[in-house]
Amino acid sequence: MTTQAHMGADPTVQRVITARINGRDVTRAVDTRTTLADWLRDELDLVSVHLGCEHGVCGACTVLLDGQSVRACLLLAVQADGHDVETVESLSGDPNDLHPIQQAFHEEHGLQCGFCTPAMVLRTKEILEERRERTDEEVRQEISGILCRCTGYQNIVNAVQCAARKLYAGSPAPIASGTGTGGSTDPHPGA
């Protein structure tokens, strides 16, 4: 990756930014034209941020910016200056120690190729922190900003509902299907 500043009409002007990335402050000089997605992937090795289109449609590049899902291909890295960024590694980056949401996707076969998966997992975290109960139809609406080409979504919907049960296990079950299936008792992972 080249970051040298060129002379003349060169567009690669640099700025120093500080952002909180998965709970740690990071200060780096970045080319002003570098997208947030490329910065996370290429400079910080957070390759879970996948690039499916780079024009803001597929959602594979979704990260949480101050807790809200955003498309990292549509933001510049400099726009993350002073903000909090979460990628799926903030839940768990360890294949042997999955977070309950990741476990739910595993149990419900909510992934096939895994390319949309980090985005789907982060979006699940975001909506479940908001509230637990949703009909399947509402879950479909909530995840419709992220494309999955493999699963046909049915098992992703099931995974979101399963994650809801896991995250809220122990709190009173408000809907008939909401019996917890075990897992974490931490309702606010990564918070």
């Binding site: 980056g93 996707f105 076969h109 190729c113 390319f115 998966t117 699963t151």
Partner: protein, 818 residues
Amino acid sequence: MTTDITPAAVDAAPDGQPKRKWIGRSMKRVEDPRLLTGRGGFIADQKIPGLLHAAIYRSPVPHGRIVSIDATAALAIPGVVAVVTGEDCKAKMNPCMNFGPTTIPQYPLAVDKVRYVGEAVVAVIAESRYLAEDGVDALKVEFEELPPVVDPMKALQEDAALLHEEHGSNLAYERTFTFGEVDDAFAQADLVVSDTLHWGRSAGMPLETTGAIARPGLNGVLEIFCNSMNFSYFVWLIATALNVPSNRVTISPVPAGGSFGSKFTAHKVPTLAGFLALQVNRPVSYIEDRFDHIMNSDHHASDRYYDAKLAVTSDGILLGLDIDVVDDYGAYLQFGVGTHGNALSQGVGPYRIKNLRYGLRAVLTNKCQQGAYRGFGSEVQNWVLERLIDQAAERLGMAPEEIRRKNFIQPDEFPYKIPGGNLYDSGDYPAVLDKALSMIDLEHWRKEQKRLREEEGRYIGIGLATTQERSVFSSTEFWYWFDEPAFPITSSPESATITVDPAGEFQVLLHSQAMWGNSPETVAAMVVAEEFGVDPSTVNIRYADSAHALPGTGPGGSRFTVMVTGAIRGAAKKLQKKIIEIAAHTLEVPPEDMEITDGRVQVKGAPELGQSLAEVALTAYFFALNLPPGMTSGLEEAYTYDHPLTTLPSPDRSDLGIFYPIMGHNCHIAVMEVDPETGMTTWLDYVAVHDAGTIVNPITLGGHVTGGTAQGVGTAQLEELVYDSDGQFKSSSFWEYLVPSATEVPPMKLGHVETPSPYTEFGIKGGGEGGRMATPAVISAAIDDALREYGMRVRNLPVRPADIVAAVQAARQEQKAD
């Protein structure tokens, strides 16, 4: 039958019941954890020291001569390393691998001419992708525009401009096959239904594009890392294109973020990356961005225009099928017409149609080339056949399920030879239909349909389709089209190596492709677990690079699970023999008295007399003097499994032989509401029942059904690669090419019927192509049914809301005029 079709695989206890511990159990995938934590290891995630990046200048014109390329400004940009053009390709490499006529050559960068919007013309190599794209922006390329050839019918006219002058015509291929007495069948028919149909151009469109990194390595070996499928089948052809000895190129498989056909033998990207790396003698990465992939990938999919006729008796018996199809293949015929071989493998569907004519013209136009997409062209035939049958049912006043049931090949008729020569191994089509009907209350929906129309003015439609899902192709389908094929290949093997290491742990080596979205590792682990009685989670799976790979063909045509299971089981048998011989020798008992159970080798009936696999492994690796005489050290066996049932076509092609015999089947039923004012549709119910033989892993098979159905929804209602009448490309991003989101795909009820194949290990059939085989047919039928009073007939896919509104308005105009 003249062929020996004795079933090869037997897998049942004496009472006829299969005895299995793992096969058939829903098992969580062993591939998941790394993917869930963002460590999929995709091609764009690979970091290599000193890596350069390539970006592509794509043709802005549909057809033209390249007049000049001025790279001065690009090369002046600091960080731009090189600019490579088609002239370099022409001078230093051979045309790319090609299964079509040699008069239609192709290079990874256009040579002399451009033939479609988006075709790669120049590659800029730089220290970063950003700088490479700066370089592309700075290029000055001049074209002399030629008349665009867009409409495939006009392409065949005398005065049409030629895509490939050397070929002499825009007709790339033409042939008509006639099987049975087609003219007689139509003469005898009480009713002939016919239609002109168009299946629009879509594509597999995985979320991850195709990409490759090439590195000139030690000892002059060019190493290519790529996510293209079945590399061990074609690496030598890439070497030929690159003018490098085949033993000086290796391909290392990298997991793919989905393929659906789009990465099947995708060669342009690894060939280009390899060529670029050789030009600068440094590692180069070329990863398509979405524009590259949509405009310039190896595989757009079928784009077919049909004149189709079906001969029927007054009581609904189907007598004959007559298909005339023009397929708009785009600018190159790289992969030949195998997509129509797929159509012929199940040309008459699940029905007892005895007579079939199939006329094909493959046409060249100024569009991206065509290749594979889930169904490989057989799903199009399914749609055409089901369209005609629905029309026949309507004309005869029969229910859609009734006419189908009446014509089904019956369970006792298998193995069944269809017109054309392919064989269906087994099936129980009435059982699949019954199962689907039991999962949906059709009577209820038919009443509702009437009530809602009368009481609330709403339009409900019910669609039903019963279609085939052929699996496990044999390569003959790619060349039987030609009387004198250049390369009449008959192999399509798959291999596996099983190692028990000195500590007794299992390693499996697969030989044709890394993971691409389904579950090769889970399947391999389950089969090893089944064979040795170990826990599948303890089995480790690795992938060979092409320098180590045994024969393999990779995923495609729903073959992989069947074939890799055959390979693993074959290797397991060899390994079991060696394990038993070692233990028997150690324990001084006859080998035939021993068996392997629960990860131990022991005397039958006396389990305390035995050894753990770890004990046997230690002997095998470190105590050569304790081995049976003549045996060598180690505990590893490999096996190459060839196609279980294939025969040669007859020389006169009156019989195409057996080439796709492992026949799955499905029934889908959809209930939809259609709004005639807006053309929008809403799902009310969806049932999908599949028979993929013995199920290996129900949860992943279900995933193929739901995933394939979603893609069927896309093909039927949303997705289209559009070239306008000037040849400009109108769908180069996801803003125009509409991949279904969660709200457009129906919640589905899934059911399974298991009719084991008598020819495969465990009786498995392929199921990877899933719902896409049937969904376009049920959606078309449901929309027609909802708007029957307007004479709606879906003839063109995708059928968009505007098409529905236009059809309704036209019908209303006509009704007013009457």
